[in-house]
Symmetry: C2
Subunit: 147 residues, 2 copies
Amino acid sequence: MSTKIFTTPQDCEAAFYDALEKSDLEAMMAVWAEDEDVLCIHPGGPRVSGHAAIREIWRQMFAGGARLAVYVGQVMATQAMMMAAHSVHEFISMKGEPRPAHPVVATNVYIRSGNGWRMIVHHASATPQKGAQPAESTPAQRPKTLH
Amino acid sequence: MSTKIFTTPQDCEAAFYDALEKSDLEAMMAVWAEDEDVLCIHPGGPRVSGHAAIREIWRQMFAGGARLAVYVGQVMATQAMMMAAHSVHEFISMKGEPRPAHPVVATNVYIRSGNGWRMIVHHASATPQKGAQPAESTPAQRPKTLH
Protein backbone atom coordinates (compact mmCIF):
# COMPACT_ATOMS: atom_id res chain seq x y z
CA MET A 1 0.00 0.00 0.00
CA SER A 2 1.06 3.52 -0.69
CA THR A 3 2.48 5.68 2.04
CA LYS A 4 1.87 8.92 0.19
CA ILE A 5 0.71 11.63 2.60
CA PHE A 6 -1.74 14.32 1.52
CA THR A 7 -1.72 17.14 4.04
CA THR A 8 -4.97 18.73 2.80
CA PRO A 9 -8.14 17.52 1.05
CA GLN A 10 -7.12 19.81 -1.82
CA ASP A 11 -3.83 17.93 -2.27
CA CYS A 12 -5.71 14.64 -2.26
CA GLU A 13 -8.19 15.95 -4.84
CA ALA A 14 -5.42 17.23 -7.08
CA ALA A 15 -3.75 13.80 -6.96
CA PHE A 16 -7.08 12.13 -7.82
CA TYR A 17 -7.55 14.17 -10.97
CA ASP A 18 -3.88 13.88 -11.89
CA ALA A 19 -4.12 10.07 -11.64
CA LEU A 20 -7.30 10.14 -13.74
CA GLU A 21 -5.64 12.26 -16.40
CA LYS A 22 -2.66 9.91 -16.55
CA SER A 23 -4.66 6.66 -16.27
CA ASP A 24 -2.28 5.80 -13.42
CA LEU A 25 -3.85 3.02 -11.35
CA GLU A 26 -1.30 3.00 -8.52
CA ALA A 27 -1.48 6.78 -8.13
CA MET A 28 -5.29 6.57 -8.20
CA MET A 29 -5.46 3.94 -5.49
CA ALA A 30 -2.99 5.91 -3.32
CA VAL A 31 -5.68 8.59 -3.08
CA TRP A 32 -8.32 6.31 -1.55
CA ALA A 33 -8.66 5.50 2.14
CA GLU A 34 -7.69 1.96 3.04
CA ASP A 35 -11.17 1.33 4.29
CA GLU A 36 -13.97 -0.98 3.24
CA ASP A 37 -16.51 1.86 3.37
CA VAL A 38 -15.02 3.71 0.41
CA LEU A 39 -17.55 4.32 -2.38
CA CYS A 40 -17.27 5.16 -6.05
CA ILE A 41 -20.13 6.01 -8.39
CA HIS A 42 -19.34 6.82 -12.01
CA PRO A 43 -21.88 8.73 -14.13
CA GLY A 44 -24.87 6.46 -14.74
CA GLY A 45 -23.21 3.66 -12.81
CA PRO A 46 -24.04 1.64 -9.72
CA ARG A 47 -22.54 2.20 -6.31
CA VAL A 48 -19.24 0.34 -6.04
CA SER A 49 -17.86 -0.15 -2.55
CA GLY A 50 -14.68 -1.46 -1.01
CA HIS A 51 -11.07 -0.91 -1.93
CA ALA A 52 -10.71 -4.01 -4.12
CA ALA A 53 -13.87 -3.39 -6.15
CA ILE A 54 -12.98 0.26 -6.66
CA ARG A 55 -9.49 -0.73 -7.79
CA GLU A 56 -11.06 -3.11 -10.32
CA ILE A 57 -13.32 -0.48 -11.91
CA TRP A 58 -10.41 1.94 -12.27
CA ARG A 59 -8.25 -0.87 -13.66
CA GLN A 60 -10.88 -1.56 -16.31
CA MET A 61 -11.26 2.14 -17.06
CA PHE A 62 -7.51 2.67 -17.40
CA ALA A 63 -6.88 -0.58 -19.33
CA GLY A 64 -7.07 1.20 -22.69
CA GLY A 65 -4.32 3.58 -21.61
CA ALA A 66 -6.32 6.61 -22.73
CA ARG A 67 -4.68 9.98 -22.25
CA LEU A 68 -7.31 12.29 -20.90
CA ALA A 69 -7.53 16.03 -20.44
CA VAL A 70 -9.25 16.81 -17.17
CA TYR A 71 -10.38 20.30 -16.23
CA VAL A 72 -11.90 20.77 -12.79
CA GLY A 73 -13.65 23.95 -11.78
CA GLN A 74 -16.34 25.60 -9.70
CA VAL A 75 -15.11 23.89 -6.55
CA MET A 76 -17.27 24.26 -3.47
CA ALA A 77 -15.83 22.90 -0.25
CA THR A 78 -16.94 22.41 3.32
CA GLN A 79 -14.29 21.20 5.70
CA ALA A 80 -14.46 19.96 9.26
CA MET A 81 -11.51 18.81 11.35
CA MET A 82 -11.56 15.18 10.20
CA MET A 83 -13.74 15.21 7.08
CA ALA A 84 -14.24 17.41 4.04
CA ALA A 85 -16.87 17.47 1.30
CA HIS A 86 -16.06 18.98 -2.09
CA SER A 87 -18.28 19.52 -5.09
CA VAL A 88 -16.65 20.10 -8.45
CA HIS A 89 -17.55 20.39 -12.09
CA GLU A 90 -15.42 18.03 -14.20
CA PHE A 91 -14.79 18.56 -17.92
CA ILE A 92 -13.14 15.41 -19.24
CA SER A 93 -12.12 14.77 -22.82
CA MET A 94 -9.58 12.76 -24.76
CA LYS A 95 -6.31 14.64 -24.93
CA GLY A 96 -6.25 16.97 -27.91
CA GLU A 97 -10.03 17.01 -28.28
CA PRO A 98 -12.24 19.97 -27.33
CA ARG A 99 -13.42 20.37 -23.77
CA PRO A 100 -17.00 19.09 -23.43
CA ALA A 101 -19.67 21.78 -23.19
CA HIS A 102 -21.44 20.20 -20.24
CA PRO A 103 -19.78 19.15 -17.02
CA VAL A 104 -20.01 16.10 -14.88
CA VAL A 105 -20.80 17.10 -11.31
CA ALA A 106 -18.87 15.21 -8.64
CA THR A 107 -19.18 15.03 -4.89
CA ASN A 108 -15.86 14.04 -3.34
CA VAL A 109 -15.63 13.27 0.36
CA TYR A 110 -12.31 13.02 2.20
CA ILE A 111 -11.32 11.89 5.66
CA ARG A 112 -8.22 12.67 7.65
CA SER A 113 -6.61 9.34 8.43
CA GLY A 114 -3.38 8.35 10.13
CA ASN A 115 -1.84 8.70 6.67
CA GLY A 116 -3.19 12.18 5.93
CA TRP A 117 -6.26 13.03 3.90
CA ARG A 118 -7.78 10.30 1.74
CA MET A 119 -10.84 10.00 -0.46
CA ILE A 120 -13.77 7.96 0.83
CA VAL A 121 -16.49 8.94 -1.67
CA HIS A 122 -16.43 9.86 -5.35
CA HIS A 123 -19.95 10.30 -6.71
CA ALA A 124 -20.17 11.64 -10.26
CA SER A 125 -23.19 12.23 -12.47
CA ALA A 126 -23.87 13.85 -15.82
CA THR A 127 -25.59 17.23 -15.93
CA PRO A 128 -28.31 18.04 -18.45
CA GLN A 129 -27.53 19.76 -21.75
CA LYS A 130 -29.81 22.66 -20.91
CA GLY A 131 -29.09 24.82 -17.89
CA ALA A 132 -25.63 23.55 -17.09
CA GLN A 133 -23.43 25.44 -19.51
CA PRO A 134 -19.95 26.13 -18.23
CA ALA A 135 -19.83 29.69 -17.05
CA GLU A 136 -16.82 30.65 -19.14
CA SER A 137 -18.52 29.90 -22.47
CA THR A 138 -21.97 31.35 -21.84
CA PRO A 139 -21.85 33.90 -19.03
CA ALA A 140 -25.20 35.42 -19.95
CA GLN A 141 -26.95 32.08 -19.67
CA ARG A 142 -25.28 30.97 -16.48
CA PRO A 143 -28.00 29.73 -14.15
CA LYS A 144 -28.23 31.70 -10.94
CA THR A 145 -28.21 28.43 -9.07
CA LEU A 146 -24.65 27.61 -10.09
CA HIS A 147 -21.67 29.17 -8.43
CA MET B 1 -36.38 29.55 9.98
CA SER B 2 -36.99 26.28 11.71
CA THR B 3 -35.53 25.61 15.11
CA LYS B 4 -35.91 21.85 14.84
CA ILE B 5 -32.89 20.10 16.34
CA PHE B 6 -31.61 16.80 14.95
CA THR B 7 -29.27 15.18 17.43
CA THR B 8 -27.78 12.70 14.94
CA PRO B 9 -27.20 12.59 11.16
CA GLN B 10 -29.58 9.62 11.14
CA ASP B 11 -32.39 11.75 12.61
CA CYS B 12 -31.73 14.41 10.00
CA GLU B 13 -31.77 11.82 7.21
CA ALA B 14 -35.02 10.30 8.46
CA ALA B 15 -36.62 13.76 8.46
CA PHE B 16 -35.37 14.39 4.92
CA TYR B 17 -37.02 11.26 3.54
CA ASP B 18 -40.15 11.83 5.61
CA ALA B 19 -40.49 15.35 4.15
CA LEU B 20 -39.92 13.95 0.66
CA GLU B 21 -42.59 11.31 1.15
CA LYS B 22 -45.07 13.92 2.37
CA SER B 23 -44.13 16.65 -0.16
CA ASP B 24 -43.74 18.90 2.90
CA LEU B 25 -41.66 21.92 1.90
CA GLU B 26 -41.26 23.44 5.36
CA ALA B 27 -40.20 20.12 6.85
CA MET B 28 -37.80 19.62 3.94
CA MET B 29 -36.15 22.99 4.38
CA ALA B 30 -35.83 22.44 8.15
CA VAL B 31 -33.43 19.61 7.30
CA TRP B 32 -30.99 21.80 5.38
CA ALA B 33 -28.18 23.85 6.92
CA GLU B 34 -28.77 27.60 6.81
CA ASP B 35 -25.67 28.02 4.73
CA GLU B 36 -25.01 29.24 1.23
CA ASP B 37 -22.77 26.27 0.51
CA VAL B 38 -25.60 23.74 0.60
CA LEU B 39 -25.88 21.68 -2.59
CA CYS B 40 -28.62 19.61 -4.16
CA ILE B 41 -28.31 17.46 -7.28
CA HIS B 42 -31.35 15.51 -8.44
CA PRO B 43 -30.91 12.54 -10.81
CA GLY B 44 -29.81 13.87 -14.19
CA GLY B 45 -29.97 17.42 -12.90
CA PRO B 46 -27.49 20.26 -12.53
CA ARG B 47 -25.87 21.30 -9.28
CA VAL B 48 -28.15 23.67 -7.40
CA SER B 49 -26.58 25.65 -4.59
CA GLY B 50 -27.76 27.99 -1.88
CA HIS B 51 -30.70 27.75 0.47
CA ALA B 52 -33.09 29.84 -1.67
CA ALA B 53 -32.40 27.96 -4.91
CA ILE B 54 -32.73 24.61 -3.18
CA ARG B 55 -36.01 25.70 -1.62
CA GLU B 56 -37.24 26.64 -5.09
CA ILE B 57 -36.48 23.25 -6.67
CA TRP B 58 -38.23 21.43 -3.85
CA ARG B 59 -41.16 23.84 -4.09
CA GLN B 60 -41.50 23.02 -7.78
CA MET B 61 -41.16 19.31 -7.11
CA PHE B 62 -43.77 19.37 -4.35
CA ALA B 63 -46.17 21.71 -6.19
CA GLY B 64 -48.20 18.81 -7.58
CA GLY B 65 -48.79 17.53 -4.06
CA ALA B 66 -47.78 13.99 -5.04
CA ARG B 67 -47.92 11.38 -2.30
CA LEU B 68 -44.79 9.32 -2.60
CA ALA B 69 -43.68 6.05 -1.14
CA VAL B 70 -40.00 6.25 -0.24
CA TYR B 71 -37.98 3.22 0.76
CA VAL B 72 -34.37 3.80 1.78
CA GLY B 73 -31.91 0.98 2.26
CA GLN B 74 -28.34 -0.23 2.07
CA VAL B 75 -27.12 2.72 4.12
CA MET B 76 -23.37 3.16 4.41
CA ALA B 77 -22.19 5.86 6.78
CA THR B 78 -18.92 7.43 7.81
CA GLN B 79 -19.10 9.89 10.67
CA ALA B 80 -16.60 12.33 12.09
CA MET B 81 -17.20 14.66 14.99
CA MET B 82 -18.65 17.54 12.95
CA MET B 83 -19.49 15.94 9.60
CA ALA B 84 -21.05 12.73 8.33
CA ALA B 85 -21.32 11.20 4.87
CA HIS B 86 -24.08 8.70 4.12
CA SER B 87 -24.74 6.69 0.99
CA VAL B 88 -28.18 5.20 0.50
CA HIS B 89 -30.22 3.43 -2.12
CA GLU B 90 -33.57 5.16 -2.63
CA PHE B 91 -36.62 3.41 -4.07
CA ILE B 92 -39.22 6.09 -4.79
CA SER B 93 -42.64 5.50 -6.31
CA MET B 94 -46.07 7.08 -6.30
CA LYS B 95 -48.01 5.86 -3.28
CA GLY B 96 -49.83 2.64 -4.10
CA GLU B 97 -47.62 1.80 -7.06
CA PRO B 98 -44.96 -0.92 -7.03
CA ARG B 99 -41.51 -0.16 -5.73
CA PRO B 100 -39.12 0.50 -8.64
CA ALA B 101 -36.75 -2.33 -9.48
CA HIS B 102 -33.69 -0.10 -9.68
CA PRO B 103 -32.57 2.33 -7.02
CA VAL B 104 -31.40 5.87 -7.11
CA VAL B 105 -28.08 6.15 -5.29
CA ALA B 106 -27.72 9.20 -3.07
CA THR B 107 -24.78 10.70 -1.23
CA ASN B 108 -26.00 12.76 1.71
CA VAL B 109 -23.55 14.89 3.69
CA TYR B 110 -24.42 16.38 7.07
CA ILE B 111 -22.71 18.88 9.33
CA ARG B 112 -23.13 19.47 13.02
CA SER B 113 -24.20 23.07 13.42
CA GLY B 114 -25.25 25.15 16.38
CA ASN B 115 -28.75 23.81 15.68
CA GLY B 116 -27.79 20.16 15.60
CA TRP B 117 -27.13 18.07 12.48
CA ARG B 118 -28.21 19.49 9.14
CA MET B 119 -27.88 18.40 5.52
CA ILE B 120 -25.36 20.24 3.34
CA VAL B 121 -25.24 17.93 0.29
CA HIS B 122 -27.82 15.73 -1.39
CA HIS B 123 -26.45 14.20 -4.59
CA ALA B 124 -28.68 11.63 -6.27
CA SER B 125 -28.22 9.74 -9.52
CA ALA B 126 -29.96 6.89 -11.30
CA THR B 127 -28.32 3.47 -11.39
CA PRO B 128 -28.24 1.32 -14.52
CA GLN B 129 -30.89 -1.32 -15.19
CA LYS B 130 -28.25 -4.03 -15.29
CA GLY B 131 -26.13 -4.73 -12.25
CA ALA B 132 -28.09 -2.69 -9.75
CA GLN B 133 -30.94 -4.98 -8.82
CA PRO B 134 -32.19 -4.52 -5.28
CA ALA B 135 -30.82 -7.34 -3.20
CA GLU B 136 -34.17 -8.48 -1.89
CA SER B 137 -35.61 -9.25 -5.33
CA THR B 138 -32.67 -10.98 -6.99
CA PRO B 139 -30.23 -12.20 -4.38
CA ALA B 140 -28.42 -14.52 -6.80
CA GLN B 141 -27.69 -11.66 -9.17
CA ARG B 142 -26.60 -9.19 -6.57
CA PRO B 143 -23.25 -7.72 -7.69
CA LYS B 144 -20.42 -8.36 -5.31
CA THR B 145 -19.59 -4.69 -5.48
CA LEU B 146 -22.83 -3.63 -3.82
CA HIS B 147 -23.44 -3.87 -0.11
